[in-house]
Amino acid sequence: MSENVTRRSVLKNLAGIVGGILAMPAGRTCKAAVQNVFAIAPAPKGYDPNQHKWLMALDVDRCIGCGMCVEACKAENNVPQNNFRTWIERYVITRPKAGSGESRGETFVDSTNGGIGGFKPSLIPKEDILKSFFVPKMCNLCEHSPCTQVCPVGATFEAPDGAVLVDKNYCIGCGFCIQACPYGCRFFNPETHTADKCTLCYHRITRGLKPACVEICPSQARIFGDLKNPVPDDPLRRFMESNKVEELKKSLGTGPRVAYAGLDEEVR
């Protein structure tokens, strides 16, 4: 082919370029139409996730094991019957056998139906109990969450304000995040066929309300606050000042942020 720069060829090329530019809006409308599948309802305006950093702390010495937080969460978030976004564990540590030289006996842990309806009396007789307590469990709001690290498509993520959320319109339901969470706080939702977990009641906290479990807890075992915008006499600050705190499974390097006060060595 000879290099023949004629008026005709130049005009043809220009027409092609102009046509391409004019086609772009059409292409974008097409794209928008196809992608409409993904775009759904808007939400509370005026909330900037970068301006907040939420944290929940748990005080084991104040938990009375009534299970109302678990019920409140179920009602608030339509959690399926056999799944739990939060739950209560009861630890019963028995006395060591006489002459055994042990500091404690066996540990029994139970969580019938996650603690919903409270706990029936333990089958272990009172005299045999060395100590017993309740531990609320939930998403540990990890700084380096292994669950978000392993999501293959970007359907679960750490929001800028500290909540770890699942995009149920994008999740493919592979279950990798559920396997990766060391705390057992994720589950496969049989209704949405996606992964599901505690959302820190994102729809409440973005409107200035407290998460349902914090709201309903009768004994201030759950302390919630915004680390970037502490209220006057912030309960979270008071909690951190007056308690020695611990996080669960810290050795795994997940950077769990949920601080527990009064945790026993037996709690995993």
Partner: protein, 146 residues
């Protein structure tokens, strides 16, 4: 370049073009806004309607009760902890809340070796059986007698 290689290169370019065209249409609009996820997801998750009204909502109309509650032992309780979900009532005060049963009191106050010592606990079978809790205790100010 030998013909087989040309054919294969053309095929490869074709496949790559198909991939990028697919990406143009299939990657959701707000993806990557805050990170490797759909920015719209934050808005969708936050769009859910709250279920529990919250204690602050009761304060608007029942301020005196809330004030009395705040000065007594039950100050940490939310109204809905005992009275149940109240959003319907907040939106339309004509809607009445269900009457309370005293199993609510026992729910928290039943004695258990697992419960912390700061909580006042009773064994329902041994604590004034046959009587109703409210006969001796004012629920909002538990140390007072009615």
């Amino acid at each position: 370049m030998p013909p087989p290689i040309i054919r294969l290169v053309l095929l490869t370019i074709g496949i790559v073009c198909v991939y990028f065209t697919a990406r143009f249409f299939l990657v959701p609009p707000s993806f990557g806004q805050y990170g490797h996820y759909r920015g719209n997801a934050l808005r969708e998750i936050a769009a859910r309607e709250p279920y529990w009204a919250g204690r602050k909502a009761c304060d608007t109309c029942h301020g005196e009760i809330v004030k009395k509650l705040a000065a007594a032992e039950h100050q940490g309780l939310s109204c809905e902890t005992c009275h149940g979900p109240s959003r319907a009532h907040v939106e339309n005060p004509e809607v009445k809340l269900p009457k309370l049963s005293y199993s609510q009191c026992v729910r928290c106050h039943e004695a258990s070796p697992s419960r912390p010592k700061w909580l006042h606990q009773i064994t329902p079978d041994k604590h004034y059986t046959g009587q109703v809790c409210a006969e001796c205790h004012v629920p909002h100010q538990p140390n007072e007698v009615p």
